[in-house]
Amino acid sequence: MTVKKDKGRKALLILLLIFPLLLAGCWNNRPLTEINIVAGMGLERTEDGKILVTVQVAEPGAIQPASAGGGSGGEKSKPVFVASNEGETVFEALRGMLAVVDKKLFLSTAQVLIIGEKLAQEGIGEILDFFERDYEVSYLVDVIVAKDATPDELLRIESDMDTIPAVYIKGTVENTAARGTVKKTLLIDLFKDMDCKGRQPTAGQITKSSDKEVRTEGLAVFRDGKLAGWLNPYETRGFLFANNELKGGIVNVPVDNGKAAFEIIRSKGSVSVEVEDGKPSMLIIRVNAEANVGEYGSGGRLDSLETLYMLEEKLGEEIGKEIEMALEKCQKEFASDIFGFGIYLHKYYPKCWKEVENDWHNIFSKLPADIRVDAKIMRVGLVINPVGKGE
């Protein structure tokens, strides 16, 4: 009798274990053939205040012609198609898109997220909220802000370099980020900075340079979630120097007769605030940079210590100038602390931060700054006697 009871229990247990498996069912079970692989995504505010969502969808069959019978034979189809749709909200616009496209949109694969200038000026809080809630969009997508062009236009370009324009755009962002003229901004970085009073969010800038090319250089500066203005490439680099985010780049320095170009190898930057009597009194930026000589326009041998010291000093000045330009613009024009001085205060002078927190924009824009750059030259290149100059 007990044996039977045990058996019954065992069967019940097994059944119970099977049920959850069935419950999970077809959750998110979507074969690759039934989704549209989104390569890039753009958001813009239309004239009448609606949100225009543009998606660039990759057509795998056209990019990689599969087997002879499998793919669609005949003339070559385009590698991507671009579709856009309007809606009151991002979500509505995206879902409304399904009336235009044939398969469900798969957003996780998006390589870039381009935000239109107009939308950015009106504030990105609303759209970020959607991306934060929605599980589909990857937090690691590159966010860039379009200048003088709509995302729609940018996504519709036909690049010669990569079959998928979005991949091409992402490639340019990576390149310029390595050169230090654009800041690579991930969606998750934006989320973090949006809620942080100690640092204002920034994002890369993209412009349309020709029918087939884009240019990603410069920085979009936000203030309270709204686009405040732009930094040019040099200012962007200055900002990156100070923020310890510079990965490399070429800095030109005017010398006696001509210019010298230095390649930044390593750079370490830090920002801090000096506090006097419980009040912030001075913004401090310290940068240690190491560089190689890439080009020495004025010619001549670089074998004396004096020349090198002189060059190091000039390089430091030049870098300092870039930082100053960036800081001044942020203080005077935008009143937006993108450097994160506020974070420093919050961390080391919490009491002081409590007091200035709500009026930080104003206080920040009026503080004097102390910028010190220590540049070092590591190598001068392969030449001892340069061509034409080696008497």
Binding site: K7, L21, A24, G25, N28, N29, R30, P31, L32, T33, I35, I37, A39, A58, P60, G61, I63, Q64, P65, A66, S67, A68, G69, G70, G71, S72, F106, S108, T109, Q111, S138, I164, V167
Partner: protein, 530 residues
């Protein structure tokens, strides 16, 4: 389900026990030669291969001698030389009427064979006759003489087809039990190598030899082997495969709990590790117990090659084992569920290959795997000369044509091909892998990675519960026996493998024997240096 199977099995066993031929009903050997002949005629009715040779002797030829054997399985030359000739030569000189003295003389001096036994029961005599010995009955005696004149004929010793190796002996076992015993004895010249013969199978009377090295093999395991063999209750043992199923600890598992091999050197190695071998007459496959999971990724060559290389190969085999089990499942899970983990470019490739395929990936994978298994099975079953045609059909029709026709994606063909190649790397686990692969595949299709994990955990749990003759199947990993890890996935060089696997619990754990020649040589060398 299993409960019902077990019940049925019990019922059948019960029935079988009732109808079994009672061998002892033959009774003792009758004293009269006429009666013996009648009994034999009864027992061997319609057996035209039975030969009864009648020889008369004694005064007036009153005492008759019967030499009984079965045609073909006795060595004719040996029979004539050892039995018939001596008797015929001896006969004229016999004048005695006393049958027992004739019997004595026959057994002591006449029959010149080293293999002579005496039997009293008829069933014993019959047993010897059917297993190829000659039996001599003498009028007036209630006992018989058994002379071993079995013919050693059979296949020559050749390289086994199933287990080939680049290095190492090319000798494989044959179907003949004595030959196999010699092949082992040749490698281990030691009286401690014990070979105990017993007969199994009520009808087939198959000779089984339990082989182990006394002092190395765990006595308990030897006893257990004997006990389990003794419990086998069947009328036919045709192959060690049958014995394997009877003596395995868990009879329903897909994983092999008893090892088998055709290679003599491999078997010698196993014996020297302290394992017990079971050799069966009529099959070249010799069983070894206990069998652990790790043995399926060990190869004989490993011990003859450089340890680094061997270790790498073992890791590779493990990788192949995992791949052959999981690759189709992982692919399906990726394509159906987890698009987010695929890099963008790879996703384009995947999507491109999937385009235009009318089936979901699961069905596609299932079709291709079944097609492959069919090919494999056909390759095994069909006559050799047709092999070429089959490989053409396999490669062209199933591979290229199915892709061209848009039934399967080219990526799926690659995946199934890799899976197939990997499954051949670990031959002992082919049956288990083949079936478990479908389980993984189904799990992947329903639950993605989660499903695969559930299935993997289930399989591992099952593996952990298995025992082979009391030894945990996953040893030395679970339970962790650090001592035995030296010969697991990573193998230390053979000269550093000083001790035998601990998990088998041998009596003598160190490989070198004290005072052995090698140690003496080492000592000599040292003293020379000094």
């Amino acid at each position: 389900m299993f409960g019902r199977i077990r019940e049925r099995y019990r019922e059948a066993k019960h029935k079988f026990a009732n109808v079994r031929v009672d061998a002892s009903s033959y009774g003792p050997i009758p004293g009269k030669i006429k009666a013996v002949q009648t009994r034999l005629d009864e027992i061997f009715s319609q057996c035209n291969d039975l030969v009864i040779k009648e020889i008369s002797c004694g005064k007036d030829g009153r005492i008759k001698i019967l030499v009984v054997h079965i045609e073909g399985i006795v060595d004719r030359r040996l029979l004539n030389q050892d039995v018939i000739h001596p008797i015929l030569d001896y006969l004229p000189s016999v004048q005695s009427e006393d049958s027992s003295s004739i019997y004595q003389q026959l057994s002591k001096c006449i029959v010149i064979s080293s293999d002579i036994k005496e039997v009293h029961e008829m069933w014993q005599a019959v047993n010897f006759i059917v297993s190829g010995d000659a039996v001599i009955f003498i009028d007036g005696e209630d006992r018989a003489l058994v002379v071993g004149v079995k013919s050693p004929e059979g296949r020559q010793v050749e390289e086994p087809d199933t287990e080939t190796s680049i290095r190492g002996s090319r000798e494989g076992f044959v179907e003949n039990l004595p030959t196999n015993m010699v092949l082992i004895r040749k490698r281990i010249k030691n009286p401690d190598l014990k070979m105990e013969i017993m007969q199994l199978g009520e009808r087939t009377k198959t000779d089984i030899c339990i082989c182990y090295i006394k002092g190395l093999a765990n006595e308990e395991i030897v006893r257990e082997v004997k006990e389990r063999l003794g419990k086998i209750n069947t009328d036919a043992i045709l192959d060690t495969g049958i014995i394997e199923q009877y003596i395995a600890d868990n009879r329903l598992t897909l994983f092999p709990l008893v090892g088998n091999s055709e290679k003599c050197d491999k078997l010698a190695g196993k014996l020297l590790e302290g394992r017990v071998a079971i050799i069966c007459d009529g099959t070249p496959y010799v069983l070894t117990v206990p069998y652990l999971f790790i043995e399926s990724i060990q190869a004989t060559d490993d011990y003859f090659d450089h340890a680094f290389f061997a270790s790498f190969m073992r890791l590779l085999r493990l990788l192949a084992l995992l791949t052959s089990n999981l690759l189709p499942a992982l692919y399906v899970a990726l394509v159906v569920f987890h698009h987010t983990v695929i890099p963008f470019k790879l996703m384009i490739t995947l999507a491109a290959s999937q385009q235009g395929i009318p089936f979901p990936p699961f069905i596609e994978a299932l079709l291709m795997i079944i097609a492959f298994e069919l090919l494999r099975e056909a390759g095994v079953r069909m006559p050799r000369p047709i092999g070429q045609a089959l490989s053409i059909v396999g490669a062209i029709v199933l591979g290229e044509a199915s892709v061209a026709a848009g039934i399967a994606s080219n990526l799926m063909v690659i995946i199934v091909a890799i899976t197939a190649v990997c499954s051949f790397v670990v031959p002992p686990l082919i049956p288990a892998t083949m079936l478990i692969r479908f389980v993984f595949l189904a799990a992947a299709n329903f639950l993605g990675f989660l499903g695969i994990m559930v299935a993997v955990v289930a399989v591992f749990t099952h593996l952990c519960t298995l025992r082979s003759f009391g030894i945990p199947y996953l040893a030395p990993f679970s339970p962790l026996t650090a001592h035995d890890l030296k010969d697991s996935l990573i193998m230390v060089p053979i000269w550093a493998m000083i001790t035998r696997p601990k998990i088998l619990r041998q009596q003598e754990n160190v490989r070198g024997v004290k005072g052995s020649k090698r140690q003496e040589v080492d000592k000599g060398r040292d003293s020379q240096k000094g």
